[in-house]
Subunit: 169 residues, 2 copies
């Protein structure tokens, strides 16, 4: 924690409580720019993003996702989607990298977010696809609930030296 | 690019050329702390890391990986591995988030790195497993080649508004 250059990484925590304040349009664009600066295999960028701010849609996601109740309060959700045919072996990895950049950008802008898993659970994929009329060749990877934090958490690592091996297992 | 808070994200680029200088032990620990601060499904943390600094091992990886020639020059490689049984639906996502944190920490410390894909290509998994005697229940996700940069690249996003949808597809 001592190196200030790494603070933006440790600062990111899962934030599930939000104030009623809306997220600024400019901040939404900044968040998406950060997401799309992630690396991807052969730079194929197999990602798409759905920006959700309609109350009705947010409530529908809150109702359908088993861990999604915070979306009743969140003013914003970004659905990160992948296009498997663009990069069959690595689209999940690539879209996850974009999602982590997205989460870090949220924290950098003093907003808060939490990742709700969708892929590979078929029933979750189905309701998200139906909610937004997502075509069959696109797979929603997650729902990222975003808002102005109404809870605070300390920066942290969860460093565990048992997980570190040197030159062999 | 205009918001300085997001510079640490845009700064990360794929760096494939390195000087002969070794990577400081303290920096390696900082990088691993950043990796392990990533979120994971139900906080299961299905990740393990192999820190590779032995020249012989680095050369073996350089020889075997089809895009790994820069490992002949790199002083450091970190192999991010997953434990699928810990989190069957999401270990690839979780280990990818840790890997992106790792890449961003490298950039924040003014080092350079590039991701070389391993999983799900079986022949790559096999040679990495053999090189480090990795047990069968652990899967190497990638090789991250790291060193002091001997090339510079400008920060960038690859923002593309065509990939952004609003409240429906």
């Amino acid at each position: 924690m001592e190196d200030r250059r790494l603070e933006p990484i440790f600062k990111r925590r899962s934030i599930r409580k939000y104030s009623a304040e809306l997220v600024d349009e400019q901040d939404i664009e900044k968040i998406l720019k950060a997401a799309m600066s992630a690396p991807s295999a052969s730079n194929r960028k197999p990602w798409q993003f759905i920006v959700v701010t309609q109350r009705q849609k947010l409530d529908a996601l809150a109702k359908a996702h088993p861990y999604g109740k915070m979306l009743y309060e969140a003013p914003l959700c970004i659905v990160v989607c992948g296009e498997p045919e663009t990069s069959p072996p690595s689209w999940v990895q690539d879209c996850s990298l974009a999602s982590e950049n997205l989460l870090l950008a949220v924290a950098a802008l003093d907003l808060g977010a939490v990742w709700l898993g969708v892929h590979p659970r078929q029933e979750r994929i189905d309701f998200v696809r139906k909610t937004f009329d997502i075509p069959d060749n696109i797979v929603p990877l997650n729902l990222i609930s975003i808002g102005h934090p109404a809870e605070t958490k300390e920066p942290r690592t969860q460093y565990d030296e048992v997980r570190v091996h040197h030159d062999h297992w």
